[in-house]
Symmetry: C2
Subunit: 188 residues, 2 copies
């Protein structure tokens, strides 16, 4: 984790430092040799959604659908965990509801399988809670944590969230079939 | 309720039969004399949202924001309860989540104060449950029933819904201040 930085998303993070135009390729090659195949946010999003285990989006979603889903306009913010130009994980945070419910935040998280077990999810979660407090939110709500995504459920419990409700059979997991959604919540 | 019809929304329902262009005014005047001041869906939406007691939308929402919120594209459907050309109430129904959660329906309801106590909400609720079954949904979920909206909470209980979760202080009610949101659910 020492070499991992959490910072605001910028456009060039979408495809990673090693993809895209000449400028990207030039900048992307660093002393670790990661530049040539830098991993972008789109790759992380695609990997997570295609697995069909934690997000309700169509596993066959296009890149444009990914952009529409993740790169929400303000007041939403997108943050990334980056190492040597590689996007390892990301979160987005913003109001969970409209005007009369916009004191409660919603947030979503993704971590690449390449980075799992390194504490990136926890670092993103802690960062997001701090950021939500800075933005003035009073609480944070997750609307649909898949019950078989035990890593996520444990992480959110350890970061102070409780399950305030469960939707039975709300999610069609690719591997597990019909499983529950948890609604998780904590005050900030 | 005998004279109330529940049918799919059509464009001319938005402003009501007595408003709008020449054509609307001409058609709107019927033998009951209701045509000249026909009430449209926009009026119902505005009345309900401006009260700030049951929807999280900005009470000062514009007509365009109302359209974007209520007239969702397919697969969502909008239905209206109409009497003599007046829109008394409405519901919309569609998937609550994306592809891997689209077997659970979401629905929203509004009834004009002019029509309260006449069973319009119950008739819309029963109609919506039947329609959701026809559309193949396995269950229905309400994400945010305001706890102080006791008429709605009682109605949904009587139509087989249970509270599966509560978000404490999730809603800033105009009259009651911070109150809870209930998540309500039933299988179909």
């Amino acid at each position: 984790m020492n070499s991992v930085e959490i910072r605001r998303f910028v456009d060039t993070d979408w495809n990673g430092s090693g993809h895209g135009d000449e400028h990207g390729r030039e900048q992307g090659v660093d002393e670790h040799g990661h530049g040539g195949d830098g991993h972008g946010l789109w790759e992380v999003w695609h990997e997570v959604v295609a697995a069909g285990e934690s997000y309700d989006n169509d596993p066959a979603s296009t890149e444009q659908q990914a952009r529409s889903h993740w790169l929400l306009p303000p007041p939403f913010e997108v943050w990334v965990a980056v190492e040597d130009g590689d996007v390892l994980g990301t979160y987005k945070v913003g109001p969970n509801k409209g005007r009369l419910g916009d004191h409660v935040a919603n947030a979503s998280f993704m971590v690449s399988t390449r980075a799992r077990g390194r504490g990136v999810g926890r670092a993103l979660g802690e960062h997001c809670l701090d950021r939500a407090r800075e933005l003035g939110f009073a609480a944070m709500q997750f609307n649909a944590v898949v019950s078989t995504n035990t890593t996520a459920v444990k992480l959110w419990h350890s970061l102070g969230f409780t399950i305030v409700g469960t939707i039975p059979d709300g999610f069609r997991s690719t591997r597990h079939g019909l499983v529950d959604f948890h609604i998780m919540y904590r005050r900030l």
